[in-house]
Symmetry: C2
Subunit: 327 residues, 2 copies
């Protein structure tokens, strides 16, 4: 039975279980000793034609990006990723080598962050490729960061530079040639990183009240914090850090780079709120430890104000511009 | 954004988090205090046209069966299910009400076994419906049962009666009318149970060495134990407990009911090995506590013998008859 040959190859690819894992892939379940403190659990499914296209991304990039999406969720809670299970629905034209490449992409992300894959499911698909990951994480009970803790008066900060993922997606869909910073934008879309170290560095020197990762896009994810915390958020349009590759691509497409930044899903940057007095020191520390900038882009306001985008002479309602799935 | 309306309805359906769960569905990850002892983690994906057909099963049955497959894996390790995450890839013709019905089916299984759903992902699908579940469980470190512990001379036992799931599937595919026990076979296929209580009862009075749940089919799953334990297994054909509904359907189809029992995947019965001297008492206790029979169907032999099926006058190699996905 070919399925069992593939499972054998997957087990060889993954290798021996790590410390604390008593049974890895290959039994009815994985068995492990949970680390102390709180445990985190998240899942994300990636569907062909919706989240990725095989003519844009390699199998390794697809597996890696789905794992990054999960790791990013754990990072946004202030945790460290530990163990994952990885399911693949395999259409007829995807080979065993392709599936191994998916696993290798996901494994590389796990290894970068000290996590491991402990199980999975390989099943047939009659149509597209689908990857589904569930990931566990460990967190200090005193430093778990939800979406619901934002306090009126908090500063709103974001890591990194925004708009690159959406710029890269549009460059791929529109078939822009790799001139200027176009290839950089495409890489930003296809090979994102999770901000695990940035979240840990932030927690080390500050007491953030709420955090979320930018998976839907800044405009939607700001609303998630506002809704869950019962507050409003005022973002300063001029402060939003624009990725140079997003500015480049926006110019080629004739669109506003800020619009790209607001709509850009799958950035996997962190959006956090914290006491304003902590911002300067936190930003310095995060950048010193990780090399990633952290920018003060807004303030938490009263709930009735909702989320607004403030420009020099006006403030307008922040329209939720969720990640537009490939269609 | 309609996706967020659906997520709100899913949160209402699931209700408040249970004890020990600090953050349930609706944040970047769930947060919980792991129970003492070892933790178990498994996942299973169910794909439309491969694992289920919407003209055979209701949405509630699809959600429930995928959860049962996961709970059954936890049961087969000797554990109790605790927390699950539930991802759905939703094609255009599946409504929000349908997705809620999927969740309700899965939730009913969770509640039956004291588990809860703490997270999920709802994404678009361009083609079929796909459900992917990852499930955590808790186990006593001294009583974790893998596939790899079988010892030469062990008795091989199985819970319940076999062949019903395969019989029901064939009855559905062939469009057999609901005469005799045909409807019972269809229900057996569409509404299986997980043997959590049976596994616990077995562990209470015996020291099983290896266990697996019948998800691929008796003939394949016996090989899984043999391969992982480095042993052989001799099954006694006359001892395999045949479900009356499988015998009925086999008669209508003109096939051997034993062949149905050997090939029947998704039975979710337990196949275990234990010292022969413990079998009688264990079977009595399991049936007394749960109402489920447990039958002695074979013996663990030396590895070079492989898996064989013994009939009155001959023993033949046991051909792996894996679960034939719907195609």
């Amino acid at each position: 039975m070919a399925e069992f040959d593939l499972i054998r190859r997957i087990r060889e690819t993954i290798g021996a279980p790590g410390p604390g894992t008593l049974v890895g892939l290959g039994d009815d379940t994985a068995v492990y000793e949970p680390p102390g403190g709180h445990e985190l659990l998240t899942c994300d499914a990636f569907v062909e034609g919706v989240h990725f296209r095989r003519d844009f991304a390699t199998f390794g990039e697809i597996g890696a990006k789905c794992m990054v999406a999960n790791v990013s969720d754990v990072a946004a809670m202030g945790g460290l990723p530990t163990r994952a299970v990885f399911s693949v629905c395999i259409p007829p034209d995807v080979t065993d080598d392709d599936v191994i490449a998916l696993y290798e992409g996901a494994l590389a992300v796990c290894r970068r962050h000290g996590a491991e894959i402990v199980g999975g499911d390989t099943v047939s698909s009659l149509s597209g490729l689908m990857v589904s990951i569930a990931l566990l994480g460990a967190a200090d009970p005193d430093r778990v960061l939800t979406r619901s803790g934002a306090v009126v008066g908090d500063a709103v900060v974001v890591t990194g530079e925004l708009g690159g993922s959406e710029a890269g997606l549009r460059a791929l869909v529109d078939g822009l040639p790799d001139e200027g910073r176009v290839a950089e934008a495409k890489r930003r879309h296809l090979q994102p990183s999770a901000r695990v170290a940035e979240a840990r560095a932030l927690i080390e020197v500050a007491s953030p009240h709420a955090m979320i990762d930018l998976s839907d896009g800044l405009s939607s994810d700001a609303w998630h914090i506002a809704d869950e915390s019962g507050v409003g958020i005022r973002l300063d349009a001029d402060s939003v850090p624009l990725a140079p590759c997003a500015v480049d691509v926006a110019g080629r497409l004739g669109v506003d780079p800020l619009e790209l930044a607001l709509a850009s899903g799958e950035e996997f940057e962190l959006l956090a709120t914290l006491p304003e007095g902590e911002v300067e020191r936190a930003a310095e520390h995060v950048e010193a430890v990780t090399g990633t900038p952290m920018t003060h882009i807004g303030v938490v306001t009263n709930a009735p104000d909702g989320c607004v985008l403030a420009r020099t002479h006006e403030a307008t309602p922040l329209v939720r511009r969720g990640y537009e799935h490939l269609k």
